[in-house]
């Protein structure tokens, strides 16, 4: 969130190649986005490993925080998927922590928010989509496709309804990724626009400054909330695949 003069509010989303790597025709450079993903993963690992290293019966604050995040996801899976969703806990938990840390680390000034890039969120959403579809196919075989055919409909209606059902299923990764990306990008752009006003308005800049403090709090809420929404939708999709209706 570099609030420098004359810089576009969208400049913060620029991808910079830190270590250019070109393999064949592919650009595999290590970018600032990748750097912050590495930081997030390192922070998650450090948080969970350090806080549980000296596990005690009466938890310390750090251990309590780690246990809370564990229980939060465990309850989410139990409530939304049931016991059949237990094998997928590691995936859902990693996903939640990755999105959460990405969002929250992005709130630190001068850092980079990798969840504000649609390609990142779309890659995650597509992975979830393919994974959930494969789980559904593996569990139910071809019966999985009855998912798209509403029961008890005349054939003429089925011809219209099945494409609609398929489309509404295929759209899932789009909405999942656009939601996270749009929230993060809009919030960060708004913060920077208002912080630009602070400088431009001189003494009157205290008003946008006060507003920005409020917005930063709001953005912190959005950062956590969007991580939650992303995860709970994953749970709901997983539930659909495991328990067909």
């Amino acid at each position: 969130m570099a609030a420098e003069h004359g810089e576009s509010p969208l400049h913060q989303f620029t991808i910079e190649r830190l270590v250019p790597i070109h393999v064949g025709g592919l650009d595999l450079s290590y970018t600032n986005s990748a750097l912050f993903m590495t930081i997030a993963v390192a922070a998650i690992a450090a948080f969970l490993l350090l806080s549980t290293s000296g596990a005690r019966l009466v938890p310390t604050r750090w251990q309590s925080a780690a246990e809370l995040s564990y229980e939060f996801i465990a309850n989410m899976i139990r409530d939304n998927v049931g016991s059949a969703g237990r094998p997928y806990f590691p995936f859902v938990f990693s996903l939640f922590m990755f999105v959460l840390f990405g969002n929250v680390i992005g709130m630190i000034p001068y850092s980079f928010t990798y969840t504000s890039h649609i390609i990142v969120t779309f890659a995650m959403a597509l992975f979830i989509f393919i994974g959930v579809t494969l789980i559904g196919l593996a569990r139910h075989g071809l019966h999985f496709f009855s998912f798209f055919a509403p029961k008890g409909m005349p054939l003429a209606l089925q011809l219209i309804l099945i494409p609609i059902e398929v489309l509404s299923y295929v759209i899932r990764p789009m909405t999942l990724s656009v939601r996270l990306f749009a929230n993060m990008m809009a919030g960060h752009t708004m913060l920077l626009i208002f912080s630009g006003f602070v400088v431009a308005l001189g003494i009157l800049g205290v008003f946008p400054l006060a507003l920005n403090i409020f917005f930063i709090l709001l953005e912190l809420l959005v950062a956590v909330l969007q991580a939650y929404v992303f995860t709970i939708l994953t749970c709901i999709y997983l539930n659909d695949a495991i328990h067909l209706h």
């Binding site: 489309l167 295929v170 759209i171 789009m174 909405t175 495991i242 328990h243």
Partner: protein
Amino acid sequence: MSDHRTPEDLKSLRERLEKARRDRPQETADDGGNQRGALNSALSVGLRIGLELVVAVGFGTGLGWLIDKGLGSRPWAMLVGLLLGFAAGLLNVWRAMNGMGLAAGYHPAPPVADEDEEDQ
């Protein structure tokens, strides 16, 4: 739950803990969705629903446009895609509204999922 003899205060603590644990699911079901700032939840629900519709229409139209481009059947596939996308979007909105109730219902999930036909 064991039969160990515990000092009186420990026993009462355990009772209170168990009571709190029993009450918790209902509490979260009631408070989590509604009480935590009516504005926030209404806003996020509204944004979520709006996005659901917009993305569906956009995706349907885009898919139709691509099919048109491939087959040279302008503008028909795009129009069909627009309508299908709109229908799929509405379906998703309807499901999301129903599914949110289910998702935040905090019942043990399997019976809910099996009994309800329209769970999202």
